[in-house]
């Protein structure tokens, strides 16, 4: 496996040289492998937003470096610009950033900036729209005529249309109802599977991260506190809770069961796996 993004000794200080200088990211190093689906969690102020803004060169490190495909983002003016296209960043509540006359033009905004040919832009808009479940009739509408959920999906399509190697989404499900959350998570996973791109999902919902991510990166006080497979991270419930985080509710159920002496498996963090594990246990019980 090759690293698509390499973060090397990254430090970011706000208000450098002023009395209220604040270290938001503190000497952080890690690699992100191509094709991974990573959940990025951390409490408010843990440094995760500052961190992700370094991954496509929106922010410049105070110290250290960020490499994309082995090359520093900050090598040249050209590479800084290229980073914006290779790593697509979708901010929180992206629907507030819709501005074009039609949904189609809005989705086309990124590809247009990439100076692609008209035909290619149209092709990419159509593909991105289908990934997020927007129909041709939606594309001709003003973004402001869409429902809240449709607006959110249109905004995400705008980033997908750039066909980035890495797609970073900051809280893409915030404020959506349970069905809307599942729809958005599924469409991100479909996009990852069919394009082979790498996904970083920033979320406060442990349930969402558990459902979607294969690896979890935990930020705490500007440092990487954990970076491991999802089940291994959620097995460390106590440490997570000390960091103001949490584990999915089923994991809490399982930790009570374990305390009471029921021989359930470790690393259960989705309802599907929990059902399987209890069923396994019950069958074993009957056999005895």
């Amino acid at each position: 496996m090759s690293a698509v993004i390499s973060v090397k000794n990254l430090t970011h200080r706000y208000n450098e040289g002023l009395p209220h200088c604040h270290v938001a990211v503190d000497n952080v190093s890690f690699d992100i492998e191509k094709g991974d689906f990573i959940g990025l969690i951390g409490h408010t102020g843990s440094g995760k937003s500052t961190l992700v803004q370094h991954l496509n060169g929106l922010m410049k490190p105070s110290e250290g470096d960020v490499l994309i495909d082995g090359k520093s983002i900050w090598e040249s003016k050209k590479s800084v610009r290229a980073a914006k296209f290779k790593v697509g960043l979708c901010f929180q509540y992206p629907e507030y950033q819709l501005f074009e006359e039609t949904v189609e033009k809005d989705i086309a905004y990124g590809p247009k900036n990439m100076k692609l040919k008209e035909e290619e832009i149209r092709r990419r808009v159509a593909i991105a729209a289908s990934f997020v479940g927007l129909k041709p009739e939606h594309l001709m509408k003003s973004p402001f005529e869409l429902s809240g959920g449709e607006k959110r999906r249109a905004a995400i399509a705008g980033v997908m249309a750039m066909q980035p190697e890495v797609l970073i989404l900051d809280e893409p499900t915030a404020g959506l109802d349970p069905k809307g959350r599942d729809t958005v998570l599924n469409m991100i996973e479909n996009f990852r599977k069919s394009t082979g791109c790498t996904v970083i999902l920033v979320s406060h919902s442990m349930e969402d991260v558990a459902k979607a991510a294969s690896k979890v990166l935990v930020m705490n006080k500007g440092k990487v506190a954990m970076y491991d497979e999802t089940e291994k991270v959620f097995a460390r419930a106590e440490e997570l809770s000390e960091m103001g985080l949490n584990v999915p509710q089923v994991s809490k159920v399982f930790s009570i069961l374990r305390q009471k002496g029921l021989p359930v498996s470790d690393g259960i963090f989705t309802v599907d796996k929990a059902v399987e594990d209890i069923a396994r246990l019950m069958k074993g019980g009957k056999a005895k």
């Binding site: 951390g42 409490h43 408010t44 102020g45 929180q92 429902s147 809240g148 959920g149 809280e171 915030a174 404020g175 959506l176 109802d177 349970p178 069905k179 809307g180 959350r181 406060h204 442990m206 349930e207 103001g244 985080l245 949490n246 999915p248 509710q249 089923v250 809490k252 159920v253 009570i256 069961l257 009471k260 002496g261 029921l262 309802v271 929990a274 059902v275 209890i278 069923a279 246990l281 019950m282 019980g285």
Partner: protein, 286 residues
């Protein structure tokens, strides 16, 4: 219900008017009726676009019904002369904490409401201190609001409503933008409002684990009330909840799915402890 504090009587409302006929179309609320007694903590659920936020905005007269009537403590919200009385009784807390704090210092922000009501300065001082103590933010009174965490900002917004001595606080997804600790802080504050101050709390949320903590759950779908009961009654009907685009807590879902597999497990469980107990009973451990 004689002690109804908020009353919706056959309320219809639409945001859009057909340009040709002049008629109101696509109603957000369609003849909805329900009552909320004083001191209750009620969670209102519904998918995006179900009409629940419109209902919330009607509770202090931000939106007035096209047809039917909403009354607050007996006062119809359509009575323009008494709208200030209604706003004194019902406070609002919205989703984005950054959009509702107005002052540069925490205590000034909490004082903003009572100042506008013309309360005496000495009384304002007392109310602000009491309100900040109630939400556990007194030691932050001299801080700048933008430097607080999301949960802290929401608690300051709630303190602002307490300082106005509102009898009821309507919260529209107050935890949607918060991290787990922030959500916990807000939920603890809601419990305090109900248990210690006797405030009526209306919580609109997409988080089912928050709804289970309420006294009552009301589900709105397509502008109508479709389910109303205690959390235990409501979340037992897993199929109905899912058909409405909602979800049940993971603990309930786990027990429900085991039950569907043929295991004799009670799935009227609401949290991790109840679910674990039910599984332990099933496994014959207790």
């Amino acid at each position: 219900m004689d002690n109804a504090f908020i009353k919706f009587n056959n309320v219809t409302f639409s945001y859009t008017v057909d340009e040709e006929t002049g008629q109101r179309i696509k109603p957000a609320l369609k003849g909805i009726s329900f009552e909320i007694p004083k001191g209750q903590f009620i969670a209102i659920l519904g998918h995006n676009g179900s009409g629940k936020s419109t209902a919330a905005k009607m509770m202090n007269g931000l939106v007035i019904p096209d047809e039917g009537e909403v009354t607050v403590d007996g006062i119809p919200t359509s009575d323009e002369k008494r709208i200030i009385d209604i706003r004194k009784k019902v406070g609002m807390v919205f989703q984005n904490p950054d959009n509702q704090l107005v002052a540069t210092i925490v205590e000034d922000d909490v004082a903003f409401g009572p100042e506008n009501l013309g309360v005496e300065p000495a009384e304002i001082r007392k109310r602000v201190d009491d309100a900040l103590k109630a939400v556990g933010m007194y030691e932050f009174k001299d801080r700048e609001p933008h430097k607080l965490s999301g949960g802290q900002k929401q608690r300051v917004a709630i303190a602002g409503a307490i300082a106005m001595q509102t009898e009821c606080i309507v919260m529209d997804e107050p935890t949607a933008m918060l991290d787990p600790r922030g959500r916990e802080e807000v939920m603890k504050t809601i419990k305090m409002l109900r248990d210690e101050l006797g405030v009526t709390v209306i919580l609109i949320t997409h988080y089912m684990d928050e709804a289970v903590k309420a006294d009552r759950v009301l589900i709105i779908n397509s502008g109508k009330a479709v389910a109303d009961g205690t959390p235990r009654e409501i979340f037992k009907d897993v199929e109905l909840i899912k058909s409405l685009g909602l979800d049940v807590p993971q603990a309930t879902e786990l027990a429900y799915r085991l039950n569907k597999l043929g295991y004799k497990i009670d799935y009227s469980v609401l949290d991790e402890k109840e679910c674990a107990d039910a599984i332990l009973r099933l496994a014959g451990v207790v």
